[in-house]
């Protein structure tokens, strides 16, 4: 495989476990993901499915009692799991950047915006303050912030939520990373701003060739954004494929449930579908398919964990009784 064909990111059998007093919580338990350069992946799942932990694991920001206990994270030919912390730090913010969920919490309240942007540049490059400030200004313009000079002088509390999230995006983009991990960056915002931000981030990534992992619980959000989708459930990827295939022809009953619960023109006037039951506790998860307790198609076979079934290039699911062809 040449460097050009090699995927930018390949997560293999990643396990991130939290060793609590009550037992081991297997938040991420064998996740596989692949991402090519410039590709946009939607990572979908309920809260507690391990999607955010997967994102933080890639960045190397798992705090005790959590620990990456297995698997590998290949990034541009290097394994991030075994990479020494000093080198991981050099990757963070430079090659892999992250955008967080709540913009009111991500910017340091006692530091001005210019300080927080300049330090992001200077952490990775020997560059003068003026040059870093110029770059900060350019990125603010790129993410659509009016009168950037004023904003640079401001403290976070002086800005609106949407503005803050745009600045967080600008900080993520400031070093032209090859991968951005966005952890539900629009859920805390007004609906009107959500759409704008999604559109802008997509455009910027396409423009700069940046790969993007968009983590969300909302299938509708990624439908119009992502090239490919990976659906997570209870610490595992249960289905993956191109956006069109996954949405048009879901194989896993859970994916099907998710799609059915998105409101659309057809469901108008009808009661929305709801997946029965609750997300299982990740503490002492029983063996077998984690979804079986909520699944209408579950049988005895589901007592053993299903392996990943690949049905084509980049198309796979983890289920004994795929539902896609029964329609």
């Amino acid at each position: 495989m040449t460097a050009a064909e090699r995927p930018l990111l390949s997560v293999e059998r990643l396990q991130t476990h939290f060793h609590t007093r009550a037992g081991v919580v297997k938040a991420v338990d064998g996740v596989d993901l692949t991402l090519r350069r410039g590709e946009i992946l939607g990572l979908v799942g309920e809260s507690g499915s391990g999607k955010s932990i997967t994102g933080f694991s890639i960045l190397g920001l798992i705090d005790p009692p959590g620990r990456i206990s297995g698997g590998r994270i290949g990034f541009d030919g290097r394994d991030l799991v075994t990479l020494p912390e000093a080198e991981r730090r050099r990757l963070r913010g430079k090659d892999i950047a992250m955008i967080f969920q709540d913009p009111s919490m991500t910017l340091n309240p006692v530091l001005r915006i210019d300080t927080q942007m300049i330090e992001a540049v200077q952490a990775h490059e020997k560059i003068s303050r003026q040059a870093a400030l110029r770059r900060a200004r350019d990125v603010l313009v790129a993410v659509g912030i009016p009168s950037p000079d004023e904003r640079l002088q401001a403290y976070p509390f002086e800005l609106s939520g949407g503005m803050r999230q745009r600045i967080a995006i600008a900080i993520a983009m400031i070093n032209r990373p090859r991968l951005i991990i966005a952890d539900e960056p629009t859920t805390a915002l007004d609906v009107s701003i959500q759409g704008q931000i999604i559109h802008e981030v997509k455009a910027l990534c396409r423009q700069t060739g940046t790969a993007l992992i968009w983590i969300t619980h909302d299938l509708a959000v990624v439908a119009g954004l992502a090239d490919r989708i990976a659906v997570m459930y209870a610490g595992r990827v249960v289905e993956t494929g191109t956006t069109a295939e996954v949405i048009r022809n879901p194989q896993h009953p859970y994916t099907q449930g998710l799609i059915a619960s998105v409101p659309s023109r057809e469901t108008r006037g009808h009661r929305l579908y709801q997946i029965p039951g609750m997300t299982p506790s990740l503490l002492n998860l029983p063996p077998g398919c984690a979804f079986s307790a909520r699944c209408a198609h579950a049988t005895e076979t589901c007592r053993t964990a299903p392996e990943l079934t690949e049905t084509g290039a980049g198309r796979a699911f983890r289920c004994w009784h795929p539902v896609g062809d029964r329609r």
């Binding site: 920001l61 730090r89 919490m105 991500t106 309240p109 006692v110 952490a123 403290y155």
Partner: protein
């Protein structure tokens, strides 16, 4: 902003007035004011003269006003022992106390903040538990006890440091300072350590609590996600946020330390205004006691005001709240 400052100033003036009334009532009305203002050896004639001079036949309001009028002009009466004006006596001793307290608070901050951060970063580590256990000692044991133990070990057993006095002083304008000589630092070491330990213990607790509150914040994680070196995350992002409670507490504790210097100065015979207060209380030198109390009240009220204003200077969002 300006409105807030004026408001705060007005509040301070009101507190000062209330306290002056309390001191007036406490010192002049409870008990025999002549007994308090005249030395016990005075003759009946002298007592009579003082009574007339004080105008005790006049109404309480008039008495209070003349008391305040004199106080505002810096006239708190004269010491029975030396005959010097009480205010002058206290002002002479003030530099010694401030030297002691500044060194003690400096030690407390330099010791308490890093240890508190350390204990806050790894709350479960044995080193953190040891720090916290030590802080309980420093926090609960009386200052004079700590001073005694330090004297026993460093002055008596090891003979390393002097246990009393201030050492030679250097005159800088009207001030007599001892910190300009090496001997002065030798002398200040034990008393400052004694006074500072309790404050360090308090700052450890405050810093630890603040650190534990700030560390799980998203903005710390975001700072890490930016790839900032640990030095910058802890030295700027964490420190600037925990600085707000630390500075507030340090400022208020500065006032407490000046009060507690009374004890430390007595243990180490440090010639500050605290030692003067104790000596004056024991020798019934009332004018000096009254002067000390009023000066301390004034100082503490000003300190509270300064801490409030400082707080606004550090916390940008508090300025916003005030503006609203």
């Amino acid at each position: 902003m300006l409105v807030f400052v004026i408001n705060r100033l007005l509040q301070s003036v009101i507190v000062l007035l209330v306290m002056s009334v309390l001191v007036f009532v406490g010192i002049f009305l409870i008990g025999d004011p002549t007994a308090m203002l005249v030395s016990p050896e005075a003759t009946d004639l002298e007592r009579q003269m003082v009574r007339e001079a004080l105008g005790l036949d006049r109404s309480m309001l008039v008495q209070y006003l003349s008391f305040m009028g004199n106080a505002l002009q810096g006239d708190f009466g004269r010491s029975f022992l030396t005959g010097q004006p009480a205010l002058q006596l206290i002002l002479e001793r003030m530099p010694a106390t401030f030297e002691l307290v500044i060194v003690a608070m400096g030690f407390a901050v330099l010791m308490g903040v890093p240890l508190g951060m350390l204990a806050g970063m790894r709350p479960e580590a044995p080193s953190s538990r040891a720090i916290m256990a030590l802080s309980i000692f420093g926090f609960s044991l009386p200052t004079f006890w700590i001073g005694l133990m330090l004297i026993m070990v460093f002055a008596v057993q090891l003979g390393l440091l002097p246990a009393s006095g201030r050492g030679p002083t250097v005159e800088v304008g009207p001030l007599k300072l001892s910190l300009l000589t090496l001997q002065g630092w030798y002398h200040v070491a034990l008393p400052a350590l004694t006074l500072g330990l309790a404050k360090a213990a308090l700052l450890i607790r405050v810093t630890r609590a603040a650190t534990r509150e700030v560390l799980p914040m998203d903005y710390i994680k975001f700072a890490r996600a930016k790839g900032l070196p640990a030095r910058r995350i802890f030295g700027v992002h964490l420190l600037k946020n925990i600085m707000i409670p630390i500075l507030t507490v340090s400022g208020l504790e500065f006032g407490q330390a000046i009060a507690f210097a009374v004890v430390t100065e007595s243990v180490f015979s440090w010639p500050g205004m605290g030692k003067l207060l104790i000596d004056s209380i024991i020798t019934l030198d009332r004018p000096v006691v009254v002067a000390y109390v009023l000066i301390m009240v004034f100082f503490l009220v000003i300190l509270n005001l300064v801490v409030d204003l400082l707080y606004m200077a550090i916390d940008p969002s508090s300025r916003e709240k005030v503006r609203d």
